[in-house]
Symmetry: C2
Subunit: 367 residues, 2 copies
DNA sequence: ACGTCCCATGTAACCGGTTACATTCGACAC
DNA sequence: GTGTCGAATGTAACCGGTTACATGGGACGT
């Protein structure tokens, strides 16, 4: 059994109250006694029980963090930032993966509710009512999500968000200036609040500019989802020249689908991502993206937790970062590839481009 | 304040002992009473305190998981698997990121020690002594790490590992059969046990086959690290034709560095990754890799935790998955690219390959 | 009718801390 | 010398559960 404060007190020849005071820093306890208690504690390898302390003080020193998918870099970076900032203040993090489902999320909340001081729900898939209910039990911080205007926000509910408006507006204007006539948006999962925000901005801006907007829904906002969506878009709408993706992972999957079909980015299709989450060189060509930073969101969340009295924090602004995946469209879109392909094959002598050759080589299925 | 069991007991007209029995499932309490207690609990929205329960029972229902980097997909997948399996049994997960440093890891252990039943240290950066010390305090599960043979393993210490031997052996033989004369290994961080394992196997096998082996050390085993290492290798040893990377992220970075310099994979250089962690299409060309699965490691870790009595689990086996990033070397190595480049430009008429053109286009620095 | 036994329930101690309040003791003023 | 005051320390209640043990009453056997 681990050593308790009573053992320390006994060994130091003081009462547990005195031992407690000596150990929990500087209360009114004379220096010599304090010294003695600390020495004994050290010698007995005493480590105060967080459980005992929590029960007595009513504060646990932990926060719970619930994410839709721990595997997704967006949340992973959010979590990394949050954990670091809280850890520096010796606050522990209980983490839960809701696998994008409200049921699991509710269950995780139940499990965490009595052992954390506060809950952080990132991109919560709960409906407004459930969120309100949770925040009736303990303070809740919504990250990347806001309650609808009609739901009265409880006093214990705070929200940190990313304002995607400027970044997505810029993206549409950028594509338009490059000569693209229409835009396809690959949206996130239907429960995603941020996905709805992005869609809403795109609708507005495309409306203003009289550009047609096509939206494609996605089940999982990851690489595989992006690949699937890419394939669907290419088949359903071969004239597409400009695609905006829900996030960088989806954009990456999209790039992969395009490359596999021999399409050039940005020659044939321009692609815009979101999050600016990729290290340099990860995307090919380098991805034009909206810097909807989850790290910054994590930092804001940490700040909101560490300064409970602070005013409702504003939302993180965004902007467009132009790199190499967007450009002037020099074909009439995807439909033209077949023709160009034929032309290339005609001009026999030159070695076929390496990339093309690799495309056709079959390789074993993954997993 | 949250409702407690005493309030439930009072409202149901029973003692707290009876209430506790009724609530904690099926003890010897008559059906009608049990029914009544449960109804009252429901009505009062009662949620039993994990803290109280933990203190009373001496078991918390939580495990602590410490990772060197929550942002690294290897650990992220490990964590996802572990969290899912434990969550299904209503076990909570406290997570900590050691940022690859022993100091932080020790601090995290201190914080977690009194509020978890067990600790999972993934690729622990602690030395053997510190690990032994931690496992004197509470049960510890080492994942992807083993204590040295000379350190006596405490009874509360278990280990789950990946046996990289077969996979890496296969990789070397595979490369040899493709005609590669020498191998370069891009190793992980120096504190990494699994890195040392991989290096050791490569040394052995290359020794057996009399193939020269060059090892390059890496600070951070991620995409950026792989890119840097790639650049170093290309400059220092231009004749390199076969590279094995510590993990898939490093391999991805390497591919990026090679592509940026106009090198063809596998025409000029063959690349082997490790982990099989990439979704289909993520690497271009599809990456030949050793399936050192962190998901499976996570599953084993979960099993070891859920079945405490089970025998010391064996290590996860590995094998080589051959895809498109390895092939017969048709140049004498990197050094020849300059010459080939010149030759291409000579044969004027054919359009330069798309990828090549993109390489030379400058784009703004990332971040 | 009485003793025995068992089952449902209650009482109270306990887990490991914190802290309000009580107690003790020395210093100082008169 | 004695009363007062305050600082250092001790006593005990409390946080919210669990559980060993005590208690009481009904069923059953003789």
């Amino acid at each position: 059994m681990a050593t308790t404060i009573r053992q320390v007190a006994a060994a130091a020849g003081v009462s547990i109250a005195t031992a407690s005071r000596a150990l929990s820093g500087s209360d009114a306890v004379v220096a010599s006694t304090k010294q003695r208690v600390l020495e004994v504690a050290q010698r007995l390898d005493y480590l105060p029980s967080r459980l005992g302390r929590s029960l007595a003080t009513g504060t646990t020193g932990n926060v719970g963090v619930i994410l839709p998918d721990v595997t997704n870099p967006f949340y992973t970076e959010f979590l990394a930032e949050l954990e670091s900032a809280l850890g520096a203040r010796d606050i522990g993090v209980l983490v839960g993966d809701s696998h994008e489902t409200p049921e699991l999320e509710r269950r995780l909340i139940q499990r965490m509710a009595t052992q954390v001081d506060q809950l952080v729900l990132a991109s919560s898939r709960l409906d407004d009512g459930d969120v309100a209910q949770a925040s009736a039990r303990l303070p809740v911080l919504l990250a990347n999500r806001m309650l609808g205007a009609e739901t009265p926000a409880p006093a214990t509910l705070r929200q940190v968000t990313i304002d995607v408006e400027p970044g997505f507006r810029e993206a549409v204007h950028h594509l338009r200036e490059l000569g693209h006539a229409a835009i396809t948006y690959i949206d996130g999962p239907p429960q995603s609040w941020s996905g709805r925000q992005k869609a809403r901005v795109l609708e507005t801006v495309c409306g203003e500019l009289s550009m047609p907007l096509t939206t494609v829904q996605l089940a999982r906002p990851d690489f595989g989802g992006g690949r699937d969506a890419g394939a669907r878009v290419l088949e359903g709408a071969p004239n597409t020249t400009a695609i905006i993706a829900f996030n960088d992972q989806v954009a990456l999957g999209l790039l992969s689908a395009l490359r596999e079909r021999g399409l050039d980015v940005p020659g044939d299709v321009s692609v815009v991502g979101c999050d600016d989450s990729l290290p340099e060189g990860m995307a090919w060509p380098a991805l034009t993206t909206v810097d909807s930073s989850s790290r910054m969101l994590g930092a804001r969340a940490a700040a909101a937790i560490l300064e409970p009295g602070a005013p409702q924090p504003g939302s993180v602004p965004t902007r467009l970062i132009v790199r190499a995946s967007t450009g002037r469209s020099h074909t009439a879109g995807i439909a033209n590839v077949a023709g160009r392909e034929a032309k290339r094959i005609e001009s026999a002598s030159a070695p076929p481009p390496v990339e093309k050759r690799s495309v056709s080589r079959p390789h074993p299925p993954h997993h």
